[in-house]
């Protein structure tokens, strides 16, 4: 009995691994992808890759000029690219934009919460507004966009959400400034456990569980 158990476990594990390897790799062709902060940086790099694979893109950003530049850059790849001026910190703005995106493109298959800001500096230089702003962009912005997209995502068979955060949400950081992006964004708040638990619960477990129930898989990227 005691000898059989590890064998069974190993068998189950290896069959799981083999099954995962055999699963067909999904293609992004024809998928409708929403990228926040997609006019530059990592967002633009993701958009480029997706455009190469013929995904239908909706790029959200605040700056009209940057969006135009991104659109010209992405149209080389001959895929559908739409750009939307939207401040993801503003809930009503997000709701109307996401609804419009879904009606124009015909739904949403993949949401990439990429928009973010990095603010660096010693604690003395930080104002309360800096922390408030960090919460707005790294907590409320993905919250707004995710909840606005949920009705459309739940209708999709592909349905995935990508959250981009920094690895420091796990490890903490030496500079107080990094509280701003890293710890707030996906949960850990050094020196403020109560709040940390709330955020962590909300952003990771609670939302994950709820989304899993709706067959939406959540990718949390560090």
């Amino acid at each position: 009995m005691s000898l059989k158990q590890p064998f069974g476990l190993a068998l189950a594990l290896s069959s799981f691994v083999v099954a995962r390897m055999m699963v067909r790799r999904d293609s992004f062709a024809g998928k409708i992808v929403v990228i926040t902060g997609g006019s530059r940086g990592l967002g633009l790099a993701l958009a480029r890759r997706l455009a190469q694979e013929n995904a239908k893109l909706a790029i959200l950003a605040r700056d009209q000029e940057e969006l135009l530049r991104a659109k010209i850059d992405l149209e080389k790849y001959a895929s559908t690219v739409t750009t939307w001026v939207c401040d993801v910190k503003n809930d009503s703005d997000v709701r109307s934009t996401i609804e419009e995106v879904a009606t124009v493109l015909g739904g949403i298959d993949l949401l990439i919460n990429n928009a973010g800001e990095i603010v660096f500096g010693p604690l003395e230089a930080m104002e309360r507004e800096d922390f408030q702003n960090a919460l707005d962009i790294h907590f409320w912005a993905p919250f707004n966009v995710t909840f606005a997209s949920l009705p459309f995502l739940s209708k999709s068979r592909f349905a995935r959400i990508v959250n981009i955060a920094s690895f420091r949400r796990e490890s903490g950081s030496s500079t107080p400034s990094s509280l701003l992006r890293e710890q707030i964004c996906a949960g850990r708040f050094v020196g403020c456990p109560a709040r940390g638990t709330f955020l962590k619960k909300y952003l990771r477990h609670d939302r994950c569980a709820r989304l899993a129930k709706d067959r939406i898989s959540q990718e949390c990227l560090l």
């Binding site: 790099a45 890759r49 993949l110 690895f167 490890s171 990718e219």
Partner: protein, 101 residues
């Protein structure tokens, strides 16, 4: 790591429904150390914090916004709060501007 390589890895993770991905080896190592030895990580962070430079003078950018001449404002704040420290550091533009007057 450049954005394009990161994007490639992220999209692969999305394709394969990987729930979590840590980009760059250093970040992965740090995440593992944090998970296994959280106190060691906290000590390392403490050490790193000690090595960071201090702020030389207290300048609140938000307080300076209403004035017309930012250099004069900086001078004023520097002379009020941290002139001695600025001068002892040397080479700072603010201090140099004050010497000229």
């Amino acid at each position: 790591m450049d954005a394009d390589r990161a994007a490639c890895q992220i999209l692969d993770a999305v394709r394969n429904r990987r729930p979590e991905l840590t980009i760059t080896f250093a970040a992965r190592l740090a995440a593992i150390v944090q998970a296994l030895l959280p106190n060691l990580m906290a000590d390392l962070m403490k050490l790193a914090a000690r090595l960071l430079p201090r702020m030389p003078i207290q300048i609140k950018p938000l307080q300076l916004q209403g004035h017309s001449d930012p250099i004069a404002d900086v001078r004023e704040v520097a002379s009020m709060e941290g002139r001695d420290r600025v001068e002892s550091l040397g080479g700072l533009e603010v201090a140099a501007a004050q010497e000229k007057d």
